[in-house]
């Protein structure tokens, strides 16, 4: 169970743009690996080269001993894919989709019920895919990717365009995915998703990998200050400045915020003044790392 993926110096150019520009990384067997980046960063193209949909113009990909672009059935039987779009046969029910995909992989018919159970679609088994909600479609397409119990799974933005409830619901499905030692590679542009699901994350932009580490290490590496927010009117701005020492204080209508690298000192003083009601402390998240690396300006 599980496979090792090694990508080295991957390059893919479309016209003048280098969509992927020298990407190298390895994914260990059983690892949950995330490719993170803004739209157009080159995540999907990178994933397509790893899956074998595109042959790299330069560099190599190996999944165990296989070169995926050769599309060898022996590898494809061990590989599950969920593409960006919901790729289904028209006008078939959830059960029929699973049966059809199952038979492409030579899977016994009983697997369909197991998968419906696993992704919580038992009561939607006889509903046509056109009539499923966005979240149900994504769960079904993940079930289709897992129908043959693959050793490695590729997920391309599985939670794109889902509402927050549906996303969290889907995370529950995804989180258990590599419990059995399966290797999982996921692309996303949601930081929280990568933080919750991935063992390691590669942050990509403009076709290059900018950082690659565990989410926690990336956040620590940012060495970002902590934001301590107080409900308005708890203490005066003057008091806050006094407590903060030299650290910046921002007084807004909704909150009074102290940004500091010495949270324990600030919090102790606030506790001494009995000003902890309605207080919130926020450390850096992967989103901060991401914005730090890729810039904050809006890109259309």
């Amino acid at each position: 169970m599980g496979v090792e993926i090694r990508a080295e110096g991957l390059v893919m150019t479309y016209g003048d743009t280098r969509a992927v520009d020298g990407v190298s990384f390895t994914v260990a067997s059983g690892e949950f690996f995330g490719l993170l980046g803004p739209n157009g960063a080159g995540k999907t193209t990178t994933l397509e080269m790893i899956e074998g949909l595109r042959k790299p113009q330069a560099g190599t990909v190996r999944i165990d001993q296989y070169e995926p672009w050769k599309r060898e059935p022996a590898l494809q039987r061990r590989m599950g894919v969920q593409l960006q779009a919901s790729s289904f046969f028209e006008r078939l029910t959830a059960r029929e989709q699973l049966d059809t995909f199952g038979s492409l992989y030579g899977v016994a018919a009983g697997r369909t019920d197991e998968m419906l159970e696993e992704v919580g679609l038992v009561d939607k088994a006889d509903v046509r895919t056109e009539d499923l909600s966005g979240g149900q479609k994504q769960r079904l397409s993940i079930a289709c990717a897992l129908i043959h119990d693959p050793d490695v799974v590729f997920l391309d933005e599985p939670t794109a365009a889902l509402d927050p409830q549906a996303r969290r619901n889907l995370w529950d499905v995804l989180r258990t995915m590599n419990d059995s030692g399966r290797t999982v590679v996921l692309t996303t542009h949601y930081m929280d998703e990568a933080e919750v699901l991935c063992d390691r994350v590669a942050i990509m932009d403009a076709g290059k990998i900018l950082e690659l580490d565990t989410p926690a290490a990336l956040v620590r590496g940012l060495d970002a200050p902590v934001r301590i927010s107080l409900a308005p009117g708890t203490i005066t701005v003057e008091t806050a400045r006094e407590i903060a020492g030299g650290d910046p204080v921002v007084d807004e209508e909704s909150a009074l915020t102290i940004t500091t690298r010495e949270p324990s000192r600030v919090l102790t003083q606030l506790a001494n003044r009995d000003a902890l009601d309605g207080l919130s402390v926020k450390g850096a998240s992967l989103e901060d790392v991401f914005l730090e690396l890729t810039g904050r300006e809006y890109r259309a």
Binding site: V81, A85, E90, R91, E96, F101, S103, L104, G106, R128
Partner: protein, 352 residues
Amino acid sequence: MRPLRSLATAMLKGYFRDRMALFFSIIFPLMFLVLFGGIFTDDGASKADVIQIGHVAILDDAPKEAKAAYAKSLGIHKSTDEAAALRKVKKGDADALITQKGDTLVLHFSRADPVKAAELQGQFQAIVQAANIAVTGQPPKFNVTTQQVEDESLSAIQFYTPSLLGWAIAAGATFGAAANLVVWRKNGLLRRLRLAPVRTSSVVLARVAVSLAIALMQAAIFIGIGKAFFGLQLTGWWPMIIPLLVAGTLAFMSIGLFAGAISKTEEAAIGISNFVVLPMAFLSGSFFSLDGAPGWIATVGKLLPLKHLNEGMLDTMVRGDGPSSAVMPIVFLLGFAVVVTAIASRFFRWDD
């Protein structure tokens, strides 16, 4: 085998659940069959409506056999109001007015329908000539008998069943292949299948099998309805339509493949298919016989797969020709399929 079979099953289920596809590939062409089969039941010739004013000896005193003969093509009503009858002819409510002035028969007609006018004049000339000969008491020296060159059984339904069936198959196979290709490319299923341990040939063969099944079903329904309700008569070698249908379906699928390969959206693919199939059906004589059409239409028809399919089916299914008459159409259709598929594959993309 199993992937091929399950892909074909999935496609076939999708087709039967698509009410629009079912309507346009089966119900719509059948509506034409019922319409044309019903309109042209007795070879188009309808009775001429003639108003007779006063006594016309030649008609009224004719022997029984003669009366029965002209009653087949003439519907004669008597009237006394000559002015009103003339108005009716002018307005086209009646085809002619006949009176007798002395020994002269006077026929009023309208040129609005020149064919009918000429027919009526000829008919009355003949009636008068026959009466003149009868007066002499001599048997006529010269006689004429007529013989139609076409098989006399080629009534409307005999012509329309193969011709409209050809159109139905062309539409079904073209639209099916075009829509299938665009939808699967757009929703990513083509890419998804590329990453499954399925050969591309299995995917293509599954689509071919489904299109063939649909074509055979169309043929069964058309022939069944033609026989059951319109007196369709099949001639000896009619099973030769099966290889003809197979070759025709492949040719039309190649058109659909081309339409699907160059289209970005399903709407565009259907539009291009329509743009090809409908004029092709007209120029191939699916809706009416092109025997009297100008030569250039026949020349264009020679390049169209549907024309070859229609001719092959007419020859074997209703004209009573031997199986060899299907050979050339099959060769042309297969050749067409190979050439157009080769062109389509140059435009083919796995994804957008």
